[in-house]
């Protein structure tokens, strides 16, 4: 195994650069090091001005997503060794405006996430005296996969539709909407349908499927979206043919 590896890191400093550029760093190669460790080494020893996001360093917070050799990955979960011989290209996530270096603006995602109401919505709340909402293991199994989302936005980066049309609500938002739609305690599926059965909601998706391919938590947003298309279509026909039926 070689002693070191080269990282080609995307730099963008808006106060001095009109355009982004690339900077190459030589980083020691350890078998247990992730890309994140290499970035931390650069910041600690080579260039303290490098800006990037990270937190838990163990793949649960969703902060450290970046494009590595053109693929959206969690940098805390990607071994340097797996990308030899290098140089390894590190860029900010695709589809998001770049604030500085490897930091993208995720406000758009956060706004879209809020739009789908990712929380339990009840028509009427049970009084406290009645106790908890009970849920069988089967009921939990219905939505559990979609609850694994860590909001890392790798799916948004992999999705060409989101890069082409920033109005698209995106894979994670729809998967999280499904997580609540399928939760037996929730009663807001009609409200979410109003938000999502729109031109820039689920219907902009053309099932490229890359979102599910890159998801580090196997949430399978592509599956969630296709199932939602079926649900939305069935609901549309029901409201057309049986307008009096309570849905």
């Amino acid at each position: 195994m070689p002693e070191s590896v080269q990282l080609q890191v995307y730099r963008y400093r808006p106060e001095r650069d009109p355009e982004p550029s690339w900077e190459t760093f030589e980083v020691p190669l350890h078998s247990e090091w992730m890309i994140l460790d290499a970035l931390n080494y650069i910041k600690d020893h080579l260039d303290g001005t490098l800006s990037y996001r990270w937190a838990c360093r163990m793949g649960v917070c969703g902060s450290c997503g970046m494009m590595v050799n053109g693929q959206p990955v969690l940098t805390c979960a990607t071994y340097l060794e797996s990308l030899l011989p290098g140089p390894i290209r590190v860029e900010p996530l695709q589809g998001f405006p770049i604030i500085r270096d490897l930091v993208g603006d995720i406000t758009d995602f956060l706004e879209k996430l809020t739009r789908v109401k990712p929380w339990i919505v009840r028509a009427e709340e049970k009084p406290l005296a009645d106790g908890e909402y009970l849920q069988t293991p089967e009921q939990l199994a219905e939505y559990k996969q979609y609850s694994m989302c860590i909001n890392c936005m790798l799916c948004y980066s992999a999705c060409p539709i989101y890069a082409l049309d920033p109005e698209f609500i995106g894979p994670a938002a729809i998967a999280l909407a499904q997580r609540y739609n399928m939760d037996s305690r929730d009663q807001a599926d009609q409200e979410r349908l109003d938000v999502l059965s729109q031109h820039d909601g689920i219907w902009a998706c053309t099932f490229v499927g890359e979102c599910s391919a890159v998801c580090p938590k196997d949430v399978d947003p592509a599956g969630a979206i296709q199932r939602y298309k079926v649900t939305a279509t069935a609901d549309w026909f029901k409201s057309l043919l049986l307008p009096w039926a309570k849905r």
Binding site: L164, D165, V195, W203, T206, K229, T233
Partner: protein
């Protein structure tokens, strides 16, 4: 917010996709490859003409062909949006694709209606 009319178009696309996936390979293989190449003896003119004469067969044929046309229209519409980044021509593309499909559907209806 009023819900989009996309579900109807997606239903046509989806139906067309499923029917074409299940029926077209065998049809194309037999009618347009095997038979012209002499690999297989496909039904004679009289048999085929007789089947298409059956109004039920023509109805099913009309349904299938319509679905195939709208499957193409919907998929090509999105291919143009995404592949060539033509979102700003939204309405124009929708009119052209679904318009062409509609015109062809009417032609199909005419051909099958006057069939003798």
């Amino acid at each position: 917010m009023r819900r989009s009319r996309e579900p109807f178009l997606w239903a046509l696309f989806s139906g067309g996709g499923m029917i074409s996936a299940l029926f077209l390979p065998a049809l194309i293989l037999l009618l347009w490859v095997a038979h012209p190449l002499g690999w297989a003896d496909v039904a004679s003119y009289d048999q085929l003409a007789g089947w298409v004469g059956n109004p039920l067969v023509r109805l099913v044929l009309f349904g299938f062909i319509t679905l195939f046309l709208f499957h193409w229209a919907h998929r090509f519409r999105y291919t143009l949006y995404d592949g060539l980044q033509l979102y700003h021509l939204n309405e124009l593309i929708a009119v052209i694709t679904y318009g062409l499909a509609t015109v062809m559907t009417l032609v199909t209806a005419y051909v099958l209606w006057v069939y003798n």
